[in-house]
Symmetry: C2
Subunit: 351 residues, 2 copies
DNA sequence: TGGTCTATTGCAAACGTTTTCGATTATCTG
DNA sequence: CAGATAATCGAAAACGTTTGCAATAGACCA
């Protein structure tokens, strides 16, 4: 139905190839004929068929964004950064939600490959087994990974690019902050153990305690969802009401904790302090506003497609590129300094 | 680099067309040759080039999702519903953020048309002038609109399909609920005046007051963002500290109001009640949890692409289809019943 | 045995571009 | 004015599929 290049050429009285050249402002074409062709194209409301163009050029100028769930506000912000960067480069982003389900994730990858996307930025690759990862590498399409652990990143077998927040440093900040506040009975409610970002945060967090000869905090792994965090916290409260601070693996987890705490009549931060991670927009409107560790999400998404575009322009054969995004503490009102013994007394006395 | 159909055919010792037929399990092909071709294809790790296929079939089996901002949790949930439905139908979704900017929106549309998407679900079309809307209609690609006003939907010139929440009923519920609680000094902090969903909510809201002979609440229009709502509320507080209830155009606006209220030392719901709209997930974790009007977002996105797919299969020439999604009040803890005079006194006495 | 029918396969055109290569013309140089 | 050079354009192949049509071959029937 839409006008084709052939139509334009016929209408302009030139050959199809000159029409093509005129519209792609190539060299070696008369300025008058170009103007004429352009005018005719505008009149016919012609727009080049990207599908046909993609077939001959081999470039589909579209990228894939494969994350676990766009409803997670972290990914929403990241996606926005990615989409903006893609659009600026004249590419489009196809959105895929994998739920971190290995089979679904692989089906999406196949899907994207069949569509001949120029590259993929993926949430993570850890649900995939070795065989699947090999197939991914063999696909020959540039891939940028998010949320990989620092261990994976430094492994020699690792051949993917990546962009991650400095989760190790983040975990360290968290520990030092909570320790500095005088907390002794701390628990870390983390995300999935297999998830690079969460495992990095957890290990760096624990490392600080170990290195300072402090008792190791309890760590509970689980899904990084509101509901799962809520359940974990409820359960925790049933076995131990002495905890004085919670380091949540991310803000959504922190929200789940807060909800459970509120329902149990436990005050924040008077009774227990909560520290989040990510600095999602909603952290400002909870009450109390959540103290958290900021991770530039928009920039992460942006950086990911920039690396992708870079790899594409360099035509694949390249060393993987790793970018680390800085994090920093944002103090709000969900953590309080405790005068150790005093608080401990109040709470133990209560039982 | 990837294996092509020609490779498969050569390797299997058959013609390219039989290879095609074998893999598309068409009729009229020997069962043995089919099995053989399939085996060879698997061995070569062949996956059909969707770009080439799209060129000849004219179908690109991809859809466009053009919204204002994926960071808005409302759209994030909607996008998930849309993406799930698209994926189930073997389509992919390309994500576009327009910021409700007319020029950007139009550029995205051109972009999607050039890519020969099968259809587009768009946030809204109101930023576009008549001329642009005509071009959209003329493009001949199925379009489903979100957030259209009921006025537009019933206009005979309107030729787009749509799926919207029952915003008129929602506005009505809101008014009746707040009135029933005994509130007299109510303000409605709405989204943009030109936005169908917000204008419907506002007009239905006001209509209830008018029909019951009650004084007309103040309405302030603005951006439907956290920051804008925060500013509006701050400003409002400067001129009128007697307000007793706020009906927010949506939850994000409600969050902005809450933040401004909190900062001014005003308690919710003791001093002022807040009623939201949308029932975003975060409404559960604010304190107090937000009373709001639930709008099924996931279902909205799902319904939108279902209509789209339906239109595509019916090959365009169809009456536009409109679907209205039901809404209902969810009572939480951000609204309180007031005994009119008493509260009024306390507050005026304060000044 | 010859003819018709059916099942299976091959041939080639088509989809709408880009791009290489050669052809044509115009311009310039001596 | 002849030849060379440059500028401009056209012809055609190519990208990887699908698909209408023709061709082949065997099967069946008379």
């Amino acid at each position: 139905m839409p006008a084709t290049l052939k139509d334009v050429a016929r209408e302009a009285g030139v050959n199809i190839s000159t029409a093509s050249r005129a519209l792609n402002n190539a060299f070696g074409i008369n300025v008058d004929t170009r103007k004429h062709v352009i005018k005719v194209a505008a009149r016919l409301n012609y727009r080049p068929n990207q599908v046909a163009r993609g077939l001959v050029t081999g470039r589909s100028n579209s990228l894939g964004l494969l994350i676990s769930d766009i409803r997670n506000p972290f990914f929403a912000e990241l996606a926005r950064g990615a989409e903006d960067a893609a659009f600026n480069a004249g590419c489009d982003l196809v959105l895929c939600n994998s739920d971190q389900n290995a089979e679904k994730q692989m089906r999406y990858v196949e899907f994207l490959l069949a569509k001949r996307v120029g590259g993929i930025v993926m949430n993570s690759v850890t649900p995939l087994d070795e065989d699947q990862q090999d197939r991914l590498r063999a696909a020959g399409v540039p891939i940028v990974l998010l949320n990989v652990s620092s261990a994976d990143r430094h492994s020699p077998a690792w051949r993917f690019s990546s962009v991650v927040a400095d989760n190790l440093y983040g975990g360290e900040i968290a520990a030092k902050y909570l320790i500095g506040l005088g907390h002794k009975n701390i628990v870390h409610i983390a995300g999935p153990r297999t998830h690079g970002a969460f495992s990095d945060r957890a290990s760096a967090f624990l490392k600080v305690f170990r290195e300072n000869g402090l008792p190791k905090p309890r760590v509970v792994f689980g899904e990084h969802t509101f509901g799962a965090a809520y359940q974990s916290t409820k359960q925790l409260l049933g076995t131990d009401r002495n905890i004085t601070a919670i380091f949540a693996g991310n803000d959504v987890i922190a929200f789940g904790c807060m909800r459970a705490l509120m329902e149990s009549g436990i005050r924040i931060p008077e009774d227990v302090s909560i520290l989040g991670f990510d600095n999602v927009e909603m952290t400002q409107i909870t009450s109390p506003p959540l103290t958290t560790i900021d991770q530039p999400k928009y920039e992460t998404g942006k950086a990911a497609v920039e690396i992708l575009l870079n790899m594409i322009s360099k035509d694949g054969v390249r060393e993987p590129e790793h970018r680390i995004i800085g994090v920093h503490l944002i103090e709000r009102q969900s953590c309080r300094k405790i005068s150790g013994a005093a608080v401990q007394d109040r709470r133990t006395a209560k039982r």
